[in-house]
Amino acid sequence: MQKVLLTGNEAIARGAFESGVGVGAGYPGTPSTEILENFVNYPGIYAEWAPNEKVALEVGFGASLAGARALVTMKHVGLNVAADPFMTMSYTGVNGGLVVISADDPGMYSSQNEQDNRFYARFAKIPMLEPGDSQEAKDYLKEAYLISEQFDTPVLFRLTTRLSHTRTPVLLGEDSSGPVARDFQKNISKFVMLPGYARKRHLAVEERRLRLQEYAETSGLNQTVWGNRSIGIIASGVIFNFAREALGDDASYLKLGLTYPLPIQLISDFASQVERLIVVEELEPFLEDQIKAAGIAVEGKSLFPRVGELDPVLIEQGVRGASRFEANYQIPDGLPGRPPIMCPGCPHRSVFYVLHKLKARVTGDIGCYTLGAMPPFEAMDACLCMGASIGASLGMEKARGSEFARRLVAVIGDSTFVHSGITGLIDHIYNKSTGTIIILDNRTTAMTGHQDHPATGLTLSGREAPKLDLAALVRSLGVRSVRTIDPYDLKATEQAIREEMDREELSVIITSRPCVMISKERLLNEITHQDQCTGCKKCLRLGCPALYLAGDRVRRDEELCNNCAVCEQVCPQVKGETAENE
């Protein structure tokens, strides 16, 4: 058998293939995205990007109902979107095995919060597995399908960024001989959740919970590693590896691969054989609280931070009071930061330049364009979750009236609009707003690494698909003022935004330009302003990384520049104006 180095996400895709998964669905979200991107390359399977996580899980539900094994992937906040089907699928159970991947992001490398999705397992009474490296990711996933089918339940498979994006060696298993499929059998009382049937299913869920608890006590997913017994560590996922790194053989370990339901007897036995029992877990005291509730004395969050990622140094400091390692010097104060920025030629740039100039109040959304909140634009007043820009702008208008709405704009990307902006827009129409909504259509899901979606005309497998026409969709919903503009045309962009903000009627502006990272078109604009620069620095207000100050003149880095030529359109010299002071 072949040994290869895989990321956690690649290993999960491989595990799904080896398990005979027939249908995979998800919505892109860091750190989960590469699971389906890899899974789609295996033979004989179907995989898709769904418009959002709720639909993805419903597709998974249907696939399971029909008898296939299903894989549904999302980032942690995606499970909030999919929580509705998730909670009730606990009641219906499965036909073919179903695994929901929740990729959490402690430390918030690319997320708006760091919620701990382990609570969803307990909330829904669904068993949860947490692998610690790529090998386990693959192997546990196969185990997850067995549990799903044996116990008639969806399984929550929880990852963190450090599992998803860490490469570790994996011994591959046998190729699948094709997707496994059970027969579809009509079973109304199990799958139609009318109250009368749901009441019976809730009893089945409770009975299942007890059987799972019994299973957890003896499952090979939970393992004890004996070392020095003065310290006993309970940990799961990558945190077990961090703890092992920090403490080596100076401690004994109870490594939990199945973290819901908890094997309380196993934990109690382990506790009785060590002097000091410590739970090491990232974020919330999920294990600690349950262990304490079972009457077992244990330390935990009193020793470790409840916020952000753990690492071996933090663990050693928590357990021993000090680490062998400590920074030998301080990072000097006042180092210029290097936050992420919009790329050179990013089609979002001109929109935020204009919104800043017009002093608009902006409800924002999730995507690269959230960077519009950063200097030099600072043209965003809120960003909450996928799709929220649109509902939030309606709420602001209803609170403050249509005069306030004259300066109010919601901005949302194309993929995010399809994900969960459409229903918000329907609310604007239904409840008569007069606001302005800008759909920043760069024809991709850019921030997660350029995934296709229903409005790009391609599927996850690269096949052509009917291209959702955003302008036609918006019109059909009842928006009368809909215009599509080229954001590289600064004048047209400014004019459109001005006019639509002034209009006492709901309007939608679609700014249409492909993301410069995927665009094959290079604008071959002759950029001339460099020679004429008088040092007014007006172009620096674009925050373009290709423009820099050299002495008192602005220069353009030709290696970085993507020739969008927006800088020329703000340059008074090129425009033949005198520098104005705005």
Partner: protein
């Protein structure tokens, strides 16, 4: 003999080819039969921001990352980023730095200034400091993008792994066929840049 676990931290600015450099290192280390774990950062952090990855190798590696003060080698593709993460290095750790300045946005717009004394300040730290002109060398070779491979060559030489396996085969496998010769030359010239330095004995983790 047990091979101690080592930690290499690679940092720089999104787009500088850190993932590629770490891929070359990982592929080679796997061939040399090490256990390897490497953690990357994706998503919003990639949009021109500061990027870090950690790569750990040894006979048995548990954690994919370590914390401040626990890194053996810092491989910095950019000077300001070298300064930003130098506190992750152990005392006497090895700091390999590309002599390249990429001004962040606040410097471009004149709101802050790029520190002018980075080499002096890093040179004064209790670490083995190796600033090399990888960017300049890459330009000399005709393609600035290969500076990551130059840095990788220098690193392999410095940490004493140059003779452990056929690195040119590793580099060849990691790059597109049409860029094979360019990258091989880049890798060799990286080794050449540190030819007068003896391989550095890394301090033990424990």
């Amino acid at each position: 003999m047990i091979r101690e676990t080592r930690t290499i931290m690679l940092d720089g600015v999104g787009g500088q080819g850190i993932i590629m450099a770490s891929k070359i290192l990982i592929d080679g280390l796997i061939q040399a039969d090490y256990d390897v774990k490497s953690s990357e950062v994706h998503g919003m952090a990639q949009r021109g921001g500061s990027v870090i990855t950690q790569l750990r190798y040894g006979d048995r590696v548990y954690s994919s990352l370590v914390g401040e003060g626990a890194v053996d080698v810092l491989f910095a593709m950019e000077k300001l980023e070298a300064m930003r993460y130098a506190h992750f290095l152990k005392k006497d750790g090895l700091l390999l730095m590309n002599e390249m300045e990429i001004p962040p946005a606040s410097v471009l717009t004149g709101e802050s200034s790029y520190p002018g004394d980075i080499n002096e300040r890093l040179g004064a730290l209790p670490v083995k400091f190796f600033p090399i002109a990888a960017e300049a060398k890459a330009r000399e070779l005709g393609n600035v993008r290969v500076m990551n491979v130059i840095m990788a060559g220098a690193l392999i030489k410095l940490i004493g792994l140059a003779d452990d396996l056929d690195w040119s085969a590793v580099v060849t496998a990691a790059v597109k066929p049409q860029y094979k010769e360019l990258n091989l030359e880049a890798f060799r010239s990286g080794m050449e840049l540190v030819r007068h330095s003896r391989p550095q004995v890394l301090v033990c983790n424990r």
